[in-house]
Amino acid sequence: MSELFPRKQVMGFVFSLVLTAAALTVYFMDVSFAVGMTILLATAFIQAGVQLVGFMHAGESEDKVAIYANIYYGIAIALVTIFGTLLILVWDM
């Protein structure tokens, strides 16, 4: 039975729950917007990393380089789109 619950995945799950709890501090504690956003950015991106590397096995095959290049490219374009939009339409710079 225990062979069905590999340590790495159980730890990944526990870590995800801990990160979710950490993210909740912005709700239960009185933090400033800047501090809150810093906490959320950190917990969200770490958790996404746990999923991609730990659960999705992004680095296990010989296509590793292509897969990581694709992920980084996707994230880069996503961030440019989101922050570019914020810069022009919300922060009015």
């Binding site: 993210a23 095959s61 296509d63 989101i82």
Partner: protein, 198 residues
């Protein structure tokens, strides 16, 4: 068909490897889809018109339940793939079934949430904010719905045909999709709900 037995079944053939790489590229496009939705959400977040703002309608309890359900389902499908690699077909089917049940529960809570929003005057057409909020959540929910049917068909195939390079490959690709939906939810949870309630 040439099967390389040194690799997990789902990577066993050249076609299998290409399918997995191809699916990662598809997920890259999905990242972009959700990035545009988030960009639009952040732009329209404060355009509430005569409707309610996020802080007035968001409730922590259902959102937290949804988060735990989806996180756990992502864990169980990971265990499913692990069981598949051990050749434990029945354990794999059990884990995949638990995953789909958790997904179904998630969808149930989300449907409750949507009807609740509609009942308190936060429907799709009330303001730019409610429009983009429900579009973003709905796009994710539609992906989960699709995933439920996809997963169900995968389980049926594995039951019928056993673990072959083809069914293992399909199951692994489905697990990638399901983990990806959890990643998207993490961002929705953090930057729509928690940011809105902060």
């Amino acid at each position: 068909m040439k099967v390389d037995n040194s690799l997990p079944l789902e990577y066993g053939t050249e076609q299998n490897k290409l399918n997995i790489l191809g699916f990662w590229i598809f997920l890259g496009a999905e990242v972009m889809l959700f990035a545009t939705l988030f960009a639009t959400y952040f732009t329209l977040e404060n355009r509430t018109g005569n409707g309610p703002a996020g802080a007035e309608i968001f409730e922590l309890t259902p959102v937290l339940i949804e988060t735990i359900l989806l996180l756990t389902s992502s864990f169980t499908i990971g265990l499913g793939v692990h069981a598949m690699r051990l050749g434990r077909k029945n354990a794999m089917i059990t884990f995949f079934s638990i995953t789909l049940l958790l997904g179904l529960a998630f969808l149930g809570v989300e449907i409750y949430e949507f009807t609740h929003y509609a009942s308190i005057g936060a429907g799709l057409q009330v303001s730019a904010f409610t429009g983009i909020l429900l579009t973003t959540l709905g796009t994710h929910g539609a992906h989960v719905t699709l995933g439920l049917f996809w997963g169900l068909f995968i389980i049926m195939q594995v039951k019928k045909r056993g673990l072959t390079p083809e069914t293992a490959n399909k199951s692994f690709i489905f697990s990638l999709y399901w983990h990806f939906l959890d990643v998207v939810w993490i961002f929705i949870f953090s930057f729509i709900y928690l940011k809105g309630m902060m």
